[in-house]
């Protein structure tokens, strides 16, 4: 790989972002208005407060889903080579699952799964 070319690319990207930062700082009209602090900066005013009092269960479910969903990504590489790695690989993935299940049990014990 051509190191010099990559350095050039890097510098170009740096200058682009840094330049945009400096340039916009100088030419942008400074206006501080309420719309800038809207959650959706698309011009349509939001009605009420965007941070409504959602049931905290939503957040807990979302966070739990986020973590457990992504952990499954590790099962795919194992599934591809399942036959080659044999019993040892099977036991290792079992250990992985046991730890995940312990995490789920913990969430259960902490009543994160009950919709209250």
């Amino acid at each position: 790989m051509d190191g010099n070319m990559l350095v050039t690319m890097f510098l170009v990207a740096f200058v682009l972002v840094g330049g945009a930062l400096v340039f916009s700082h100088f030419i942008a009209p400074k206006s501080v208005n309420y719309q800038k602090f809207e959650p959706y900066e698309c011009g349509i005013p939001t009605k009420g407060v965007s941070w409504l009092q959602f049931n905290v269960g939503y957040y807990l479910f979302a966070i739990l889903f986020l973590v457990f969903d992504v952990e499954t990504v590790f099962i795919y590489p194992w599934a591809v080579v399942m036959k080659e790695v044999g019993l040892v690989g099977y036991i290792e993935i079992l250990i992985f699952f046991v730890i995940l299940v312990l995490g789920l049990l913990y969430a259960w014990k902490k009543k994160a799964l009950t919709w209250a």
Binding site: L6, L102, Y106
Partner: protein
């Protein structure tokens, strides 16, 4: 793979078993009984610490991802000793009613971070290094935000997780460029293919910046004071001692073994950052009134002194770093132990509150005094030998100016380390703090620190022992 090969990961496996044990106990026990776990876990952890000192074979696992040598075992043992003291110190704090629902969480998170640090120290490639680093950082943010009902604690948690996420992002970008240049993520292969091209230097800078955040070197230190002040005291001591020690260990291992051909670049960076870190840490420490913030800035300054050891990329430099971290663990945990005991029993954390402390609490005052003297590097205590060896290792490479600046900084630090001592012994106060009856855990921890401060300094075989292990590792 042979099953007995897994014994090479003895430290990690024991800690993992302990963490899973706590988790299972938490799941299958009523909430009211969980406080019974405190003596068990503390005792088991002390056993694990002793088990770490058993002789162990060296070797390589997972095709080179995981290496274990005598030096790395020693590093893990040093960290284990620190964590054992912290667990002893935090027992009384965990028994508070407000913490009753999260005792096991504290242990699980603390042990996870320690497992992460152990994997990080033993890593043989950048993937394992990154995994260990993140495992050591993410639970740490939860620990910092542990006091759910205190605003400062939540603030500390978010500052820690955002700044560490940014720093690992920067570090990863450097690693990706390194991968693009060398085609490997293994330390050996990278070291074989490394060259002096500008892109290599760039990836080194990114790596350096990322690690600078973790060790809180000066241009990257802005999160440190707020996080240290906001987090619970035992977490602060953990962050400033164990976590920083682990980061310094792996930082110096990677600089010495992976980037050794680029030493022309990083020696200059370390040189500049050492001066900045020592000076800025000291100048800010002078102005602090809150004891936790004070110790936070003093620990930034200490990180600057550790950089002196990194400048000497040899067995000597590595030994001085490990020795200094060992001494630093005892001294800093001694200071934090007293601060945490006073903060727990009276709720006072400011330096003014320490006026006339000696009147009612002579033992605590004496211990805080010797810890601060050791941190300052006053001769009979271990801290002096730690600093002395660091200065020696930098001077042996000819960095006399740097050593001169370091000595100047050590003198400045003497001034502010004496401020709490003056408050305790000389300042008069109408209402000195009442007599503090500390519990048995805290006492054991404080006695251990005192023994360490005197023992490590006077018992010279410790240094020789570390030196032999580093020689076997070979740098």
């Amino acid at each position: 793979m042979q099953l007995e090969n897994f014994l090479l990961m003895r430290h990690e496996l024991l800690l993992l078993l302990l963490a899973l044990l706590v988790l299972v106990f938490e799941i299958f026990t009523d909430d009211g009984k969980i406080h019974k776990i405190i003596p068990w876990i503390t005792g088991l952890f002390v056993l694990v610490t002793f088990a770490g000192f058993l002789p162990q074979t060296e070797g390589v696992l997972f095709g080179g991802m995981f290496r274990i040598t005598g030096m790395q075992i020693m590093m893990k043992n040093i960290l284990n000793v620190g964590v054992a003291i912290i667990l002893l110190q935090s027992a009384v704090w965990l028994k508070k009613p407000e913490n009753s629902g999260k005792i096991s969480e504290y242990y699980i998170l603390l042990l996870s971070t320690l497992i992460g640090m152990n994997f990080m120290i033993s890593s043989g490639d950048f993937l394992m290094f990154y995994l260990g680093l993140e495992l050591a950082t993410i639970p740490m943010a939860v620990l910092a935000a542990f006091d759910r009902y205190r605003n400062n604690s939540a603030e500390a948690g978010i500052k820690l997780i955002l700044s560490s996420a940014l720093s690992s992002g920067i570090l990863l970008f450097g690693l990706s460029m390194l991968y693009g240049m060398t085609g490997s993520i293994y330390f050996d292969a990278i070291n074989a293919n490394i060259n002096q091209s500008p892109l290599m230097a760039l990836s080194l800078i990114f790596f350096f910046a990322g690690m600078g955040f973790k060790i809180s070197l000066v241009p990257f230190h802005l999160w440190t004071a707020d996080v240290y002040e906001g987090a619970p005291v035992s977490v602060t001591s953990y962050l400033s001692v164990v976590s920083k020690g682990a980061a310094v260990f792996i930082f110096s291992i990677i600089l010495f073994t992976v980037f050794d051909k680029l030493s022309g670049y990083w020696i200059n960076m370390v040189y500049a950052l050492a001066i900045l870190t020592m000076t800025v840490g000291n100048l800010f420490a002078i102005r602090q009134k809150n004891m936790k913030r004070f110790l936070a800035f003093s620990s930034i300054a200490q990180a600057g002194f550790i950089l002196l050891g990194i400048l000497n990329a040899s067995e000597f430099g590595m030994t001085t770093i490990m020795y200094f971290v060992l001494v630093y663990i005892f001294s800093n945990l001694g200071a934090f132990g007293v601060v945490s005991a006073i903060s727990y029993f009276t709720g006072k954390e400011n330096m003014d509150d320490y006026d006339s402390l000696y009147k009612n609490n002579p033992k605590l005052s004496l211990l805080l005094t010797i810890s601060l003297f050791s941190l300052a590097g006053i001769p009979p205590f271990a801290g002096f030998f730690g600093k002395f060896f660091l200065f020696m290792s930098a001077a042996s490479q000819g960095y006399y100016w740097l050593v001169f600046i370091a000595v100047l900084n050590a003198t400045i630090s003497l001034y502010y380390y004496l401020l709490p001592v003056k408050a305790m012994f000389i300042n008069k106060s109408e209402t000195p703090l009442p007599v503090i009856k500390s519990d048995v855990y805290t006492r054991i921890a404080l006695i251990l620190c005192a023994v360490g401060i005197f023992g490590v300094g006077f018992y010279s075989p410790v240094y020789e022992w570390i030196y032999q292990l580093v020689l076997q590792f070979g740098i």
